[in-house]
Symmetry: C2
Subunit: 357 residues, 2 copies
């Protein structure tokens, strides 16, 4: 999803400077050099791609969990091969950002031996922007899938209370000379932050986005924010979200069915999140060059389609995020002042200073 | 999707009688005993589950392709292991119903050896109701995925012409004492048949379902039917449909990017459809009994959710279809008179008679 640019009051910081700062915060919160690098990379990458909701704004959440001991700063992550081409990763309640990277790395490792590799993960936490793991697979010349469950946020089709996670569906494939093909989409029809914004402004919202707290469809921003966001595509989004729950939770042995703890509000214990990573070599049926050539042909045909009313261009999944990344690598990452304030507080707790700009 | 019950003029036929009749039609059109059984099973199973759009109403389409030689009645389907846990199935332009079954069977076979099995399929055709292959995996105690590409039907996000297939997304998992968990959903927001119905009645349709022939959003049933149906969930449905195209077409070496021929209207050559089948054992991380127990727990929690306004019950994906199947196994399958007429014509061409009821 593109950046929320509605807050005008922001500063600009170079991604390398931000990375260095976030890495140091994680180091001071007990992570190893390697894990602090991984966590900082994951969050700054989200900001670079314009997915600010999953970027450094989440540092205070991760650090609070580390300080309270409900996320393990020194996890002993174990990998067990449960079948020839399948491994179980036990994250030992480490940060999802770190456990997730290990999970996809193992799936890729297996894929290079067997053509395809599956990894189930348990005892993990919120793993950040799902596209991270797809890009990891793509860098290894693989097609990748990354599924996760999450704390209750969406009602089931016909229900009115939060039960299913927003459980992003993520998959992608390598390309050549064109943006990598990266699908990363929450099963919710709209980000909750957008309802909050409508509520604050007293604006109406379109039909079909939310239920009020009594389970009635609403177009009132405030009522919607007090109620629940609906899955995208109605019953279809529900089915996808439930599938992510089956694969990431039921299958792997992780928490499931409403048990995954909310990373922000439930500090009583580890989240118990589960993930499901799949990697397959892109050159299974054709050479890698042919695969990339075919991806380029598909992309060209897609982009050459006659435009519908109201559109100026057709982009492929992952292209808007890549454009943002190119721009932000060059021009820096905008951070809203409220995010800067929370990062300054984290810096103070860690005995560090927010970077001088 | 539930049955289209809007046509009142229909007959009722026992599923066994219908199966026998359809099997004989395929035999007379040159299929082997085994393949005729498979094709008849696939189509009657769709009718049993209420997916009448993918049932015996399609017999004339399949048979016309067989008679014209653009579908191969005697395909030499080959299976090549391209990596330890991955096979390529070349369908030799046989009916998708038959090639698809072979593809999922091979994925299951590999999964039982390596934990997970992937099969790419090329030189196939329309494979019918995608849930068929999910049920096949479930019967083998596997979690299954079945993806396919298809002839152009949906615009890309921002486009206005048919380009992507409706490319159903299908996946599922075995259960115990509850309906199997079966997700099978087209990437279109509504079936084109429903627009046709609205057009015939001159009824309006809700916003967001279709563009008119000039690429403008429309709520006029007739304009919509002359235009294009949109993907579900807007850009998200487009991304899913394009992913199916990447996996089933680009990756496998099948036709892709607008090349798959329309099974009804393009009789110039084989369809060239590609499929992507994935099977994984449900007992990879926990015992099979535990897996089923956890599925039951999830289902019970889903069904116990407080109802939203306008709902009387919460059902899980695949449950409505299973209910229809139980009812139709007992009471028979309704066939509309127009479908009966086309089947009678097929029977005549094959030197057979439509069954006496």
């Amino acid at each position: 999803m593109p950046a929320n640019n509605y807050k005008k009051d922001s500063i600009i910081i170079a991604s390398s400077q931000l990375h260095h700062f976030i890495r140091n915060i994680f180091l001071r919160n007990g992570l190893s050099e390697e894990h602090a690098e991984t966590a900082a990379y994951a969050l700054v990458k989200a900001n670079l791609r314009g997915v600010d909701s999953h970027g450094v704004a989440r540092v205070p959440m991760y650090c609070e969990r580390l300080r309270l001991g409900v996320a393990n700063p020194q996890p002993q992550i174990t990998v067990s091969r449960v079948a020839s081409a399948v491994a179980l990763v036990d994250g030992d309640d480490g940060l999802g950002l770190i456990v997730g990277k290990k999970g996809m790395a193992e799936a890729i490792h297996i894929a290079h031996e067997f053509g395809i590799g599956l990894v189930g993960v348990k005892h993990s936490g919120h793993y950040g922007m799902a596209a991270l793991y797809i890009l990891q697979a793509i860098e290894a010349d693989c097609v990748g899938f990354a599924f996760t469950n999450a704390s209750p946020a969406l009602p089931v089709w016909g229900g009115r209370d939060q039960f299913l996670g927003t459980n992003p569906f993520a998959a992608g494939a390598p390309t050549d000379d064109i943006p990598p093909f990266v699908v990363d989409m929450a099963c919710s029809v709209i980000a909750r932050g957008k309802l909050k914004f409508a509520a604050q402004r007293g604006e109406p919202i379109p039909e079909g986005l939310a239920l009020d707290k009594n389970g009635r469809p609403t177009t009132d921003g405030k009522e919607a924010f007090e109620g629940v966001v609906l899955p995208f595509g109605g019953v279809k989004g529900t089915a996808l979200s439930m599938l992510m729950e089956v694969l990431s939770g039921v299958l792997t042995g992780a928490a499931f069915g409403g048990e995954v703890r909310n990373p922000f509000t439930d500090l009583e214990g580890p989240q118990g999140t589960g993930h499901f990573f799949l990697a397959l070599k892109a050159d299974l049926f054709r050479s890698f060059d042919e695969f990339k050539q075919r991806m380029q042909t598909l992309t060209k045909r897609v982009k050459a389609q006659t435009l519908a009313e109201g559109f100026e261009e057709i982009q492929i999944p992952g292209e808007p995020e890549q454009r943002t990344e190119i721009a932000r690598l060059k021009n820096g990452i905008p951070l809203t002042l409220d995010v800067v304030e929370t990062l300054k507080s984290e810096a103070e707790l860690a005995g560090l200073s927010f970077p001088t700009l």
